[in-house]
């Protein structure tokens, strides 16, 4: 449902849109039309006059009419009873048929009957008059033109124009919608606001059950909304004169009518007023925005309800149309020819649609319009190209629906849409046999003349040849038939297969390409909604609007090898099953259920930013320092970028962050990367580690991104499977320059195309490259007491630019120089490492105790300014872990014994108490 913002309303200059002059009479210039809009060759205006008296009159009249109808109805029934009674009386006395000729006999009962006939006639009169009042909204037709030029361009001419070109829209409003308007009028009149405006209408809408249902699917806080709208109402000017409908309100009413008309509704229901109100009244849309509801959300929920209603209507429509569409092979003129072979290898989509078995298609008007245009311009072959799951088959289904309704271009009228079952055609047949079958089918189709052929995944026809290598393949047979305009053929293919098998091939050339793109988020939501009712009924769970929107949103963001809407529908169905099992039937599917399932599938932590998590991000430095010693600058820089990323303040088309860590070996570069993976992704496992020294040859590119023979690239596959991950590139500068060039694109666009043509998404990864370049330089300068910033600049200008190209250096979000470790740092690290050993021992039931002097001693022995903390790890392994392992194996330590590291760093054992 498009918002009708582009409507050009015109108002009468004499009465300024009121339709009445100062004396309360019809405006002489516009004959009471007042304000309206030209739309598809007709003039739409609002003509219903409001006033307290008028409203009361309408209500009273309605009740009186009801009473009158009832009285007349009873009279009619009584008359029939009278006649029956008389017949009964006569049948007691006589068996002669002539004595029943009541029109020749005088009797008071017969008199009563004849009087009642008048009542019956009166009933017919009332019913058909009421039907006239119930005039439904005119339905938009195929091929409708929006031609304004033929319409009169001044009010006098317009008022004299034929009545059928002037549509009074209030007739299209149902009783509830009129009731809402009356409430709005009374509200405005009581407050003496002078004009009924959008706010009055919105406020009275909030009493309507359908509107409330929409807001409840949106999880809206109603009392808060009502309070806010009330505050706005109070601000309106009061003590004005007579109340009348404002021009703004009339425009809203006409827009609502036109929106309902365009979406094929029979009547304007109150829900259709919401969007035009929000489009006209910015304050109200702000109020809703504050409550986290915007026009898109409301529109999507309205569509949800509309689609459900449409499904019911469709059922009736197809019952009505069923007897007109032939259910056999024949067209209605019996000029078609029987197609026994085709019938065997294909199934009839029009027939399936006739029985209402095809899924409903939401949106996609443009694509269907494009198909019509191609067919009308004598293009007999059409190919819909789009990814798996974007809805190509649903569009074909919609065409079948329209063919049943016969609401199609002439070329498709009274035809059958047959889907050729390619697997069935090809299976168990040699190429010769398959070719023979296809030839017979094409022959049948072209002779029958009432068949539209549909071939799904047309690429399966390619490359099937009978005979020598030079002979034509199946696709060319089809191509020739289409080119000779023997048959109309609709086909589909994916982008990849189209490029690979069809582009610039004979078949590809005769098919007009129509691209079916993945639906946008809102359209996808509406499509998903049309399926939701089915899931709700099947699995007995209920979806809130937000859960649907979340599913579409998350799958759009994080699942890249499948396409909307299919991927969201798949996930929602599995969620429905899951929720029905875990929470029980009749429970509500929430956003968190959706997040959980998406997270399980994609291995992505999609938990909503909760209070505690934000706190964790705020205290990221502290958390990292629990594992990392010193390197304050590096830690704070990394933390800051992660916070930016999580708060959504980053460019969405680039990786979350990319860093180059520089520094001597063993100072904690890899450790920081691991820590980030753990803190940000909740697990160290979300890390893809590449030793770039293994990629020193030019052909290593293949190892990275795969090759065209089908080998998968290590990097691309890893990221495809785990899009939310930290990519650690160790010794970055050692890789071949061609590989470094790959990362130029990754860091700039956040994506990389592998050798198979799949685009891999890097926008959810953190890239950390490490390098040892200039390690000695850093150490020397630190010893010489040079400042870190200066060291960094010199390092980049003098050392780094010799191994990396400047554009690559520039791509990194940050280049972080790690300081060499001091003895104090090493002591801290020793403490952390020993604590880890202690933890392992505790799990086995041993105690563990280290003296401060012992730590100092070990740190002293393990410290090497050149190698950082690496020797320390080796030392702890050799001196402590090995020793303890030997003792455990020799049986010297038992459970509850305490292992002590003494002041000299030696391992002692304190025997535990015996039980």
């Amino acid at each position: 449902m498009a918002e009708k913002n582009d409507l050009q309303f015109t108002s009468c200059p004499v009465c300024v849109g009121n339709g009445v002059n100062d004396k309360g009479l019809k405006c002489s210039n516009c004959a009471g039309l007042g304000l309206g809009v030209f739309y598809f060759g007709k003039f739409y205006y609002w003509g219903l006059i409001f006033g307290r008296a008028m409203i009361k009159l309408r209500h009273l009249k309605k009740n009186l009419h009801l009473i009158l109808n009832l009285v007349v109805f009873i009279l009619g029934i009584l008359g029939l009873i009278a006649l029956g009674w008389w017949i009964w009386l006569i049948s007691n006395h006589s068996n002669d048929l002539t004595s029943f000729a009541f029109w020749q006999i005088k009797h008071w009962l017969i008199l009563a009957f004849w009087i009642s006939v008048i009542a019956d006639m009166f009933i017919i009169y009332r019913i058909s008059e009421e039907e006239v009042i119930k005039q439904k909204i005119d339905k938009p037709k195929y091929n409708e033109k929006n031609d304004v030029s033929e319409m009169p361009n001044n009010w006098r001419q317009l008022s004299k124009a034929k009545a059928k070109y002037k549509i009074e829209v209030s007739f299209g409003f149902n009783y509830e919608a009129i009731k809402v308007l009356e409430d709005a009028y009374i509200l405005a009149d009581t407050a003496k606001n002078g004009q009924v405006c959008a706010k009055h209408l919105f406020f009275s809408l909030l009493k309507n059950n359908n509107v409330l249902a929409i807001f409840s699917r949106l999880n809206l806080n109603l009392s808060e909304l009502i309070a806010k709208v009330e505050n706005q109402l109070v601000l309106l000017p009061s003590n004005q004169g007579k109340t009348f409908l404002s021009n703004e309100l009339k425009e809203i009413l006409i827009s609502a009518y036109l929106t309902a008309r365009d979406s094929g509704q029979k009547k304007v229901k109150p829900a259709y007023l919401i969007l035009p109100i929000l489009a006209k009244d910015k304050i109200l849309s702000e109020v809703l925005y504050e409550l986290e509801v915007d026009s898109d959300k409301i529109n999507n929920v309205i569509q949800w309800f509309a689609v459900s209603e449409k499904m019911v209507d469709n059922y009736h429509l197809y019952r009505a149309k069923a007897h007109l569409k032939p259910s056999g092979n024949m067209d209605r003129a019996y000029t078609a020819i029987a197609t026994p072979v085709l019938n065997h290898f294909a199934f009839d989509l029009t027939l399936t649609a006739k029985w209402g078995r095809l899924a409903l298609c939401v949106g996609r008007k443009k694509e269907i319009e494009a198909i019509w245009q191609n067919l009308e311009s004598n293009q007999f072959g059409i190919i819909l190209v789009g990814e798996v799951g974007v809805g190509k088959n649903t569009i074909i289904g919609q065409i079948a629906h329209l063919m049943v309704e016969e609401n199609v271009p002439k070329i498709l009228k009274d035809k059958r849409l047959m889907e050729l079952d390619l697997p069935r055609l090809l299976s168990g047949a040699s190429p010769e046999k398959a070719e023979e079958r296809l030839l017979v089918i094409l022959d049948e189709v072209s002779r029958a003349g009432n068949i539209i052929l549909y071939i799904n995944n047309i690429e399966n026809l390619m490359g099937i040849t009978a005979g020598e290598e030079q002979s034509l393949d199946l696709s060319e047979v089809l191509a020739n038939a289409i080119e000779r305009k023997n048959l109309i053929c609709l086909t589909t293919s994916t982008n990849e297969n189209y490029a690979k098998y069809l582009e610039n091939k004979p078949l590809g050339n005769v098919l007009a390409k129509i691209i079916i793109s993945e639906p946008e988020i809102n359209q996808a939501i509406q499509i998903v909604e049309s399926k939701i009712n089915f899931f709700e009924a099947k699995h007995k769970v209920y979806f809130s609007y937000n859960s649907i929107a979340k599913a579409v949103d998350l799958t759009d963001k994080y699942i890249h090898d499948k396409y909307l809407p299919a991927k969201a529908i798949e996930i929602l169905e599995s969620i429905a099953v899951g929720v029905a099992k875990t929470k029980g039937i009749n429970s509500l599917v929430t956003e968190n259920d959706v997040a959980k399932v998406v997270s399980e599938i994609t291995k992505i932590p999609v938990a909503k930013i909760t209070e505690s998590e934000s706190e964790a991000l705020l205290n990221l430095e502290e958390k990292i320092h629990q594992r990392m010693v010193d390197q304050v600058e590096a830690v704070s820089m990394v933390s800051a970028s992660l916070r930016r990323a999580r708060a959504g303040l980053r460019e969405m088309k680039r990786p979350i962050a990319s860093f180059l860590f520089m520094g001597p070996t063993g100072v904690g570069k890899t450790e920081l990367a691991k820590t980030v993976a753990e803190v940000y992704f909740k697990d160290e496992e979300y890390m893809i580690r590449l030793d770039m020294s293994e990629y020193q040859h030019p052909d290593s590119v293949e190892k990275m991104i795969g090759n065209s023979d089908g080998a998968l690239g290590y990097l691309t596959e890893a990221v495809r499977k785990m899009p939310f991950s930290l990519i650690l590139l160790d010794e970055f500068e050692k890789a071949h320059p061609d590989i470094l060039n790959l990362f130029l694109q990754v860091m700039d666009d956040g994506r990389l195309t592998d050798a198979q043509g799949k685009t891999i998404d890097f926008t959810n990864s953190i890239i950390i490259a490490t390098s040892n370049v200039g390690a000695v330089f850093i150490q020397d300068n630190i010893v010489a007491g040079v400042g870190m910033e200066e060291i960094k600049q010199k390092l980049i200008n003098e050392h780094l630019n010799k191994v990396l190209r400047p554009e690559l250096i520039n791509r990194f979000d940050g280049i972080i120089v790690f300081k060499p470790l001091s003895i104090e740092d090493v002591r801290q690290i020793a403490k952390i490492m020993l604590a880890k050993v202690g933890k392992m021992l505790e799990a086995k039931g041993f105690g563990f105790n280290v003296s401060d002097e012992g730590i100092k001693k070990i740190a002293q022995e393990g410290f090497d300014p050149k190698f950082g903390a690496r020797p320390l790890r080796r030392l702890i392994q050799e001196k402590i872990e090995n020793e303890i392992a030997n003792k455990i194996l020799s049986g010297n330590i038992k459970r509850r014994d305490v292992i002590i590291i003494d002041d000299n760093g030696l391992v002692l054992i304190e025997k535990g108490k015996k039980l």
Partner: protein, 121 residues
């Protein structure tokens, strides 16, 4: 005030209802008749559509089942002729029914008046 208003409304509504009742005979022979015509026309069109009579007539010289040889054309001409005749009879039946309904509609008020007159005097 309220009483005043009420009486005003009552008079107005009473007038409307009387107008409604007085309009009734006029309606019967004007808009009502028009509605009946429209309804019956639609009915006939739908019957015609489901019988496909016009399609059969239009295609009388076009062979059925694509049999373009002279035997096929000959046979199909006669088959179509028979079909058209049978379908025309069915259509005629509906037409007669429609005419009857229209006659009834036109005659009913007069008949009722005549009968009431007959009963009373």
């Amino acid at each position: 005030m309220i009483n005043n208003n009420l009486s005003f409304y009552s008079v107005k509504i009473l007038a409307e209802i009387i107008r409604d009742i007085l309009y009734f005979p006029v309606w019967w022979y004007s808009r009502g008749l028009n509605n009946v015509f429209k309804f019956l026309w639609k009915f006939l069109v739908n019957k015609q559509k489901s019988l496909g009579l016009l399609i059969w007539i239009k295609n009388i010289f076009i062979p059925m089942y694509g049999q373009y040889d002279w035997q096929g054309m000959l046979i199909s001409f006669f088959v179509r002729l028979v079909q058209i005749i049978i379908r025309s009879f069915v259509m005629l039946f509906w037409l007669v029914l429609v005419v009857l309904v229209i006659c009834t509609w036109l005659a009913l008020p007069l008949l009722v008046i005549y009968e009431i007159n007959f009963q009373l005097f």
